[in-house]
């Protein structure tokens, strides 16, 4: 047996466990799900091939459209509001002041708490007879009292805010790590050159932080697109379908309505959408990255 052949066999042997695992638990189910997406299947009886019916229905189903819109809103809000806020917070927490360590802990604390626990606690706080409405009444704002999670106009904005509240600390910590990795000499040199404050941020901090921005943006987008637990526990998508997200709508279609084929089709469309979005995001943000 020559060395090349030996090397090949050793390579196959080393790659085999991961390949088998990937094939069994990822590739095969994925290929199977592509087939199921073209069927009507209730998980009890054998699937019936229906061609493109599920895909056509997806674009007519008002619940799915609403779920898609909500998911998009969540993601855009994360990019436009949460990211700059997290960066601002990180810049503030990177300064020297007394309660810095304490505040860092405070802002990171929501990340440590399980999302399900967060959902239950906030669910109680936001109930009609909950703490938020009690405080509003005490402040003389009776007109603002409402069932925050039981009103189709307020339910999803409330869920968006809660999600941002939880994710803010996480993003800020990543930005903070990025800020601390920027060499101090660059700031010192720029100070000698007469730059300070915003100019330093614009020309040193931000460009050198771009790799971190790429990661945080990626995490924010993925987090927004896959949001499930919070609306699932707090509202189950209601009232009506006002707080459905794509993942929740897929879950309800599969496990609630027993339309597994339809749910799989929705899952595949979501996957394609996520692929496009992440590709575009990585493409554009990587262009901006510079080396320190």
């Amino acid at each position: 047996m020559n060395m090349n052949r030996k090397g090949l066999l050793a390579g196959i042997a080393f790659a085999a466990p991961a390949t088998i695992l990937f094939s069994v638990f990822v590739a095969y189910p994925f290929l199977q799900s592509i087939y199921y997406s073209f069927t009507q299947w209730d998980s009890i009886r054998p699937p019936v091939y229906t061609g493109l019916e599920n895909y056509k229905e997806l674009f007519k189903d008002s619940k799915m459209i609403q779920a898609f819109n909500n998911t998009l809103k969540m993601t855009i809000f994360g990019i436009v509001v949460q990211n700059p806020l997290a960066l601002l917070l990180a810049v503030l927490l990177n300064r020297k002041f007394r309660t810095k360590a304490f505040l860092r802990t405070v802002f990171y604390m929501p990340v440590v708490v399980s999302l399900v626990v967060t959902s239950v606690v906030w669910g109680n706080i936001l109930q009609y007879d909950g703490l938020v409405n009690y405080l509003l009444t005490q402040l003389g704002l009776e007109s603002a009292v409402m069932d925050w999670l039981g009103n189709i106009n307020t339910v999803f904005p409330t869920i968006i805010l809660l999600t941002q509240w939880q994710a803010l600390g996480y993003c800020a910590v990543i930005y903070l790590a990025g800020l601390q990795s920027i060499p101090q000499e660059l700031y010192e040199a720029s100070t000698i050159d007469g730059a300070s404050g915003f100019r330093q941020f614009r020309y040193i901090t931000f460009p050198l932080l771009m790799p971190v921005v790429t990661i945080v943006l990626f995490l924010t987008i993925v987090g927004g697109l896959k949001l499930f637990d919070l609306p699932y526990v707090m509202t189950n998508g209601g009232p009506g379908s006002a707080s459905y997200t794509m993942t929740l709508a897929i879950y309800v279609a599969a496990f609630g309505n027993n339309t597994y084929g339809y749910a799989t089709a929705a899952g595949i469309v979501l996957m394609i959408f996520i692929m496009i979005v992440t590709f575009l995001q990585l493409h554009f943000t990587r262009k901006q990255e510079v080396e320190a």
Partner: protein, 469 residues
Amino acid sequence: MRKTWTAMLSCVLLFCLFLTACGGNNNGGDNTASGNDAANKPANNQAADSGSENTGGNEATSDVAGANDEAFTIRVGAWFIDQRTFMKEFVANVEKKYKELYPNATIQWDILLDAKYFDKLKAELASNTAPDVFFQQGLTSTFAEGNYLVDLSDQEWASKLHPGSVKFSKYDGNVYSAPMGVGTSGVWYNKKIFSDLGLEAPKTWDEFMQACEKIKAAGITPIALGFKDMWTAQVFAGLMIQSAGFESSKSFGKDLYDGAKKLDGPEMQGVMTKFQTMVESGYFNKSALSLDWPQSAEMFTTGKAAMIVQGPWMPGVAEDNFKTKGHAAFDLGYFPLMTDAGYHNLAVSVDQNLSINKSTKLLQQAKDLVSVILSPEIYGPYNVGNGNIPAISGIEVNYPNPVFNEVKTALAEGESSGGFEGYIATSAYTALAEEVTKIVSGAKFNPDDLKEAQSKQDKDKSTIILPSE
């Protein structure tokens, strides 16, 4: 070099062994023990199990059944066994009586107090990890068609089922589940509040609305809703649709299936409009969508609300709340939800069906467990607590709560049919309930919104397994 190759080969073989152990065996629903089953059983019993191959008959496991002193764990799945007094007694009595039969047996209660139990159960059945014995609701035909249930036609109790309950237990002429009693839902009201306000149980929709108005004027919430649990919206809307639908056609359910009646038709529109009227009139609690059903039940039993629309278990829940939560006790009254003309049609249904998993390795033990649960001394008190009428001949019960006489009267005075929901796709039923929650949230009802329910019905019609006639 040889050592390296031997080590690598051993790793690959070990890995393959691991994968083999992970794999399931799904031979069209034949009897392979689930991973959980194997894990849950004591080692000394696994040997006994491993030799048996169940084919749906009793004889295959007779060797296991004969060894009554052997230790084993049998799993029971349920979604409703909670901390209510009669439920705790039910569990204790089942365990005690089963111990008499199998002294070393352990019953493992797999309980998930939520409608998600059914999602879990379906996934467990599909992955061959479902409990040996499980409760289900309205899924006998579906599961039997999927070959997930043991045919129980040969059991003694199977020949004693009341004619009215047989259809909930049969599929293709065979009995696949035991009905845990038949019952009906309706409006349960606080008799003290009603008498204080000079009200009587309404007979027509107008009288119902007038009663709500008077209660509201007295500063009490007329109807407690706990629509965070979507099924409660289905119960409420279902009662209204049942009466409105069967008033328009005596074969309303079948008509919906055949397309002669539509889910966006005048019956449904009428029901949704009535919901909107009740919302606009302030007859529901403002926390309707953020309370779950136990919270809404507490609202009713504390006297903060005068009525609640619930299933037959409500009097038992109220009794329990009076005893354990210190709420001031009051007498409950009952009336059905009626149409403008006072017509009512009640869907008499079985809330819990007891079935045996076809994949169980403990077939005889499972059949014995079902027999224990259906024995008069356990089944009887369970039905009393749950507000149901026993579905097995020869088991008579006395209800200490006189409200059940009002239920019997309502059943006798009105009509009863199979629930319309048995004829519509689950996705369509979900769409209807979502429309109700949307209206309760304050959104104005738009008749076009119901088109989605009909569209789901058209698309998913083939998923419907019609109830036995």
